[in-house]
C-alpha cells in the first residue's frame, strides 16, 4: 500500500489539492495531511479509492462532489462536509459547522459529536447505490433535514438528555427519513414532517450504520441498538402538488 504524507502547513488549498490529485494519480492508497488548518475544498471532486487522513481542522466543503475516497478528519470540520457528494465516506472525529451533507446524493458522513444548522439539507437519493447516510453522534441544530428528498439521517444524541432541542426538523421534507434517538417533541417538527413508529424493520435498517459509527469512534453499540428511537418522515411526497391552478 502506497502511503504519502503531506505537511499542509501554510499551503493554500489549490496547491494542496493539486498535491493530493498528483498523489492519487501516482497510485497512493493512503494520504496523510498534517497541520491542516482550515484549508477548504479538500478532496473536492476527487475520484478513486484512496483514504485521506486529515490531521487538524478541515475547512469548508470537505469532500464536495467527491466520488469514492474516504476522508478521516482528526479534528473538527467547517461547514458543509460532503456537499453534493456522490460516493465515499467522511469520518469526523469532532464536530462540523452548518449544512453538513448538503445535497449529498450518496456515500456516508459520520460525525462523532455535533453538527450545526441545516444538517442534511436537500439530501437526495437515486437508485440503490446512491442513498446517502448522515450519522451524528451528538446533536444537531435547527432545520435538520430541511427539504430532504432522500437518504437517511440518524442522530444518536449520545450523552444528551434530549437528543435535539432546536426547531424545524425536516421542514419541507419530501423524501428519505430522519431517525432520532429518544423522544422528539411535536413542536420542533418542521412544516411537512411527521413522526412515525420506529419498528423492527427500522432497527434492522439502522443497525449496520450504528455499528459502523461505533467502530469508527471506538464506542459500544449495545446501548444504542434498541427501540428507543423516533422516526420522522415526509407528511407528503408531493408538498407542492395542489398549490397551483392553471392560468
Amino acid at each position: 500500500m502506497k502511503k504519502i504524507e503531506i505537511d499542509a502547513k501554510g499551503i493554500h488549498y489549490t496547491p494542496l489539492n493539486e498535491m493530493i490529485r498528483e498523489a492519487v494519480r501516482d497510485g497512493a492508497e493512503e494520504i496523510v495531511l498534517n497541520n491542516v488548518i482550515g484549508q477548504r475544498f479538500i478532496a473536492d471532486g476527487l475520484k478513486g479509492d484512496v483514504t485521506i487522513t486529515i490531521n487538524g481542522v478541515a475547512g469548508g466543503d470537505l469532500g464536495m462532489f467527491m466520488n469514492g475516497p474516504t476522508c478521516i478528519v482528526n479534528g473538527n470540520c467547517d461547514h458543509a462536509p460532503g456537499n453534493t457528494m456522490d460516493m465515499g465516506t467522511i469520518i469526523v472525529h469532532g464536530s462540523t459547522g452548518d449544512a453538513a451533507a448538503h445535497s449529498m446524493r450518496g456515500g456516508k458522513l459520520f460525525v462523532e459529536n455535533n453538527i450545526g444548522y441545516r444538517g442534511g439539507i436537500h439530501m437526495k437519493q437515486y437508485e440503490e447505490e446512491h442513498r446517502p447516510v448522515l450519522v451524528v453522534g451528538g446533536t444537531a441544530h435547527a432545520f435538520l433535514g430541511e427539504y430532504m428528498a432522500g437518504g437517511l439521517i440518524l442522530v444518536l444524541g449520545i450523552g444528551k438528555e434530549e437528543p435535539i432541542v432546536d426547531r424545524g426538523i425536516g421542514s419541507g421534507i419530501h423524501g428519505g427519513m430522519i431517525i432520532v434517538r429518544g423522544e422528539v417533541e411535536d413542536e420542533i417538527l418542521g412544516i411537512g414532517a411527521r413522526k412515525t413508529d420506529f419498528g423492527e424493520e427500522e432497527l434492522e435498517m439502522i443497525t449496520p450504520y450504528v455499528e459502523e459509527f461505533c467502530e469508527h469512534f471506538g464506542k459500544d453499540p449495545s446501548g444504542l441498538l434498541n427501540m428507543n428511537y423516533t422516526c420522522i418522515v415526509p407528511a407528503s411526497t408531493r408538498p407542492f402538488a395542489g398549490k397551483y391552478t392553471w392560468e
Binding site: 466543503d61 437515486y126 408531493r238
Partner: protein, 503 residues
Amino acid sequence: MSLGSVPLKYKVSIDREQCMHCMRCIDNCSYGVFHREDDRIIIDSRKCTACHHCISMCPRDAITLKERPVDYRSHPLWTAEAREDIINQARSGKIILSGMGNAKPYPVIFDRLVLDACQVTNPSIDPLREPMELRTYLGKKPSRLEINKKDNGDVELLTKLTPNLKLDTPIMIGHMSYGAISLNAQLSLAKAVEKTGTFMGTGEGGLHEAIYPYQKNMIVQVASGRFGVDINYLERGAAIEIKIGQGAKPGIGGHLPGEKVCQDVSCTRMIPLGSDAISPAPHHDIYSIEDLAQLVRSLKEATEWKKPVFVKIAAVHNAAAIAAGIARSSADAVVIDGFRGGSGATPKVFRDNVGIPIEAAVASVDQKLKDQGIRNKISVIASGGIRNSADIAKSIALGADAVYIGTGALIAMGCRVCGQCYRGMCPWGIATQRPDLVERLDPEVESEHVANLIRSWTLELSELMGAAGINSIESLRSNRSRLRGYMLDEGTLDVLQVKPVGA
C-alpha cells in the same frame, strides 16, 4: 350559486367548404379540441390553447382561430384577464401557474432605442467585402499583460491567462432543462450550437447521454436542487453556470412535478422515478456574497481551474451591486436575466410583476463595473426577451458581451408561445415528455431551423455593425454613443447612459 363558465378564450372554427375530412386536426391536437362523430369533426373550443399545431398542419387552410370571441363590458382597469383570474382563484384558492415570459404590456425599452449609422464623415463598411469580427471571448481578461521579448524577436507571454469560452457569434442559447423541454428539443438546440460555433445551457436537469457528443458546446448548470450534478457532469461541460435566479421568477425556486419525472428524466437528474424535483429558492450553501465566492471556487477547484464559471442572476433592482460582488469572486461571467425571460412554469404574479427589464439591468451592471474599474474581470451576458438581431445589437451597445436566447430558439422549432408549457402536452414536441409528441420533433430538421436563426441574426448583426462603421464586436460593446433614446424619459436615459434622439 355557481360562478358558471367564463367566456371562451379562443374560438376555433372550420370552413366546412374547404375541409376535406382528412382528420389531421384530430391527430394533431394533443389538447383534444377536435373529435369525430360519424363523418363530422366536432370542435371543443374551450380546450384550445392557440398553439396553432392544427392550423399549421391543415392541408386546406380550413381552420380559423379567434381570440376572445366574447366581449366583456370594456373597462380600462377591470380587464377580462383581471376578472377571469379572480374567478379562477375564487374557485381554487390557489396560486396561478403560467408559462413563457412576462405577458404584461410594459413599454419595451429596446423599441425606444435606435441605432446609429455612418453618413459621409466616416465610411460605413460592407460586410460582404470586409472582414467582420464577431468572435467573442467570454471570461476574465487580464488588466495588463506581462511579456518577455526574446533575442530572436519572439514574444513570450508571462501573464497567466484564465480560461475563456470562444464563440463564433455573440448569440448563445440559454438554459432550458431536460425535463422542462424534451430530449429531442435539447438535441436540436445542441446540434444547432455545434453547427454555429456557439454554446447552450443544460438547465438544471443534468446531461442526458444523447447530449454527450455535444458536450464541448454545453454550459452545465448548477442550481439549488443540484439535480444531475456530479463530478463527471462538471467535467463534461465547456463551462459551468451557477443559477441564482431566473428572470421569469426572481426570488423563488422551481419544481418539476413528479408526473414529468419519467425514466429518462429520473436518471439524468439522478432522482427517483415520479418524485417531485424541488429546487429551493436559495442555494443553502450560499447565504452571502462571500458564500457565493466559495461556491464558485468549489466548482473551480473540482475542475482544476480549467473551466469558466458563470453566475446567473435575475435582473432585480440592485442587480448592479450584486454583479459587482460577483465580479470580485472568481466567477468569469455574470448572466443577467431580464423580467421578460421565459419559463416553463412560473407563478403568474411573479412572471408579470417581479424584476426589471434587461435593457436597464445590463446598462447599469456595465456602468457599475466600469465605475469600479473591474469590467475586465467579468463578462456580461444579457438574456430575457431578446427577439431579433436589433435587440442583440442594442444589448451589446448597452454593455453586454453576448446574449442568451431562449424563446426565440423555441419559436424556430415550432413553438407559438401559447404559454401552456407546464401542462406537458406541447403538441410541437418541445415542452413535453409524451413519447408520441416528442417524436414529432425531428432534431435533424429543427437543429437546422435553429442554426438558420442564429446565422440570420449573425448576418444582420454584421450588417448593422458595418453600417455603423464598426468592424469588430468589441468596438460595439458598451458603445452607448451609437444609441439614441426615442421617447424615453430622462430617468431611464440617465440609467442607460444614452442621449435622446437629436442630441
